[in-house]
Symmetry: C2
Amino acid sequence: MRTYLDCLPCFLNQALRAGRIATDDEEKIKQLLDEVGRMIGKIPLENTPPETGRLVYRKVGEITGKPDPYKEIKKESTQKCMALYPSLKKKVEMSDDKLLTAIRIAIAGNVIDFGVDRRFNIREEIDNALKNNFAVCDYDKFRTLLDKTDEILYIGDNAGECVFDRILIEEMKKPVTYIVRNVPVINDATYEDAVQAGIDKVATLLSSGTDAPGTILNTCSAEFKKVYDNSKFIISKGQGNYEALSNEKRPIFFLLKVKCHVIAKDIGVNEGDLILKGINI
Amino acid sequence: MRTYLDCLPCFLNQALRAGRIATDDEEKIKQLLDEVGRMIGKIPLENTPPETGRLVYRKVGEITGKPDPYKEIKKESTQKCMALYPSLKKKVEMSDDKLLTAIRIAIAGNVIDFGVDRRFNIREEIDNALKNNFAVCDYDKFRTLLDKTDEILYIGDNAGECVFDRILIEEMKKPVTYIVRNVPVINDATYEDAVQAGIDKVATLLSSGTDAPGTILNTCSAEFKKVYDNSKFIISKGQGNYEALSNEKRPIFFLLKVKCHVIAKDIGVNEGDLILKGINI
């Protein structure tokens, strides 16, 4: 996805939110906003938003001296989600279509996103995802391709959300490589977060190599790119990965909750909608 | 009021909104946001927000070639409000406390503000202002000082809102000097807008001399400052004028609807609250 004009003030808002998580020092946050303000003029609108996000969050670390301000928030998110794991499993077991229920749960988990300015109630979100129709629903394609597929590349998004991804991984019953960010950026899941969610017990963990809040291919490792280029079934979770990969040529299913009006417009849906969208299938 | 960190992304959002009203040319709007982004680093947090707003809206005019993008919107606002005038007069006539009702109506009119990202329904707003309690209500002080006063300095805010101000001016039954902006900025009322609302029939019109979206004294004319310095009863409408004058030493009553969380925090109230706040009384 390209950068829209609305993304530009949003970069400043993101810097402000992350700066405040990292420090109470108003002068440092002002310095951060000054730098991000200067950055605006250097952002080509053809770039994807996570390419700029990467530079913004790097600045947060440089200026505040805290490269991982969301560390504690991430740990807590995972703990809270792990407590839900048994009840989520039960919801899948008791449903008529277990795969669809697991997909719904995986999308519900995508609400745990500290990159956007939204409060959320995870229990309400699960109920909502189990009850409501998706705005885009390529479930038939998903199920058909899953039957034919030998292995799955699953690109994760946020810490905590990993627990919900685990439910879907367990339900797909195929070998999965689960991708995490290389270093902390916002509350995106790193290796440590995925292990805390027990993903290592159900999938092979691999870092994408990027430090961006989205899988920007030219910032990923050669190892990841080889896996990506050979994948015939890719699941991409969340907004940042959608922004980075929406124009790519591989067979990708985007699973996300739409949390910003710019992405809603890009997909052609409304804010708050639940999306299961396949491309190049 | 000082500039808060939250004001910095807001300046970019305001530039985007005004840019879009002025032009469809995405490149020009990008250029505008680039310039406002660079401006961020030069904003001292001690400045009042309208001091920066002045530079932002000047840039909108320079880059888009439209110094008055809200011209038609302003005309329409005033026309719509003029259609309400007879029913507003009736509400005052039929009320137990005519002055208080007129104040409530004047505050309701403050919702007509295109500088903030809010939709509004003016009829609902009037009902709300007539029914609900104010978060700050210095009405007793207002009435007492009004009885003792010979003349009133009334600093207007937005076009359309002038019609609601006229209701209060008529009810106060004292000589009023009504202040307008010198040149168009956002949808703030200029001489032309005040005349369209018939303010010239009930008050003496005077320009403050400023091109800022708030009465920043050091950008005002000597003529205005003389009147201001001698005034013993000043009414200041809206957020921009509050931001510019909240730390001044004159006896001022601020009448406004709080439309942003930063101003809410500065006053110590909630977004959406109605305010009648006197200082230096």
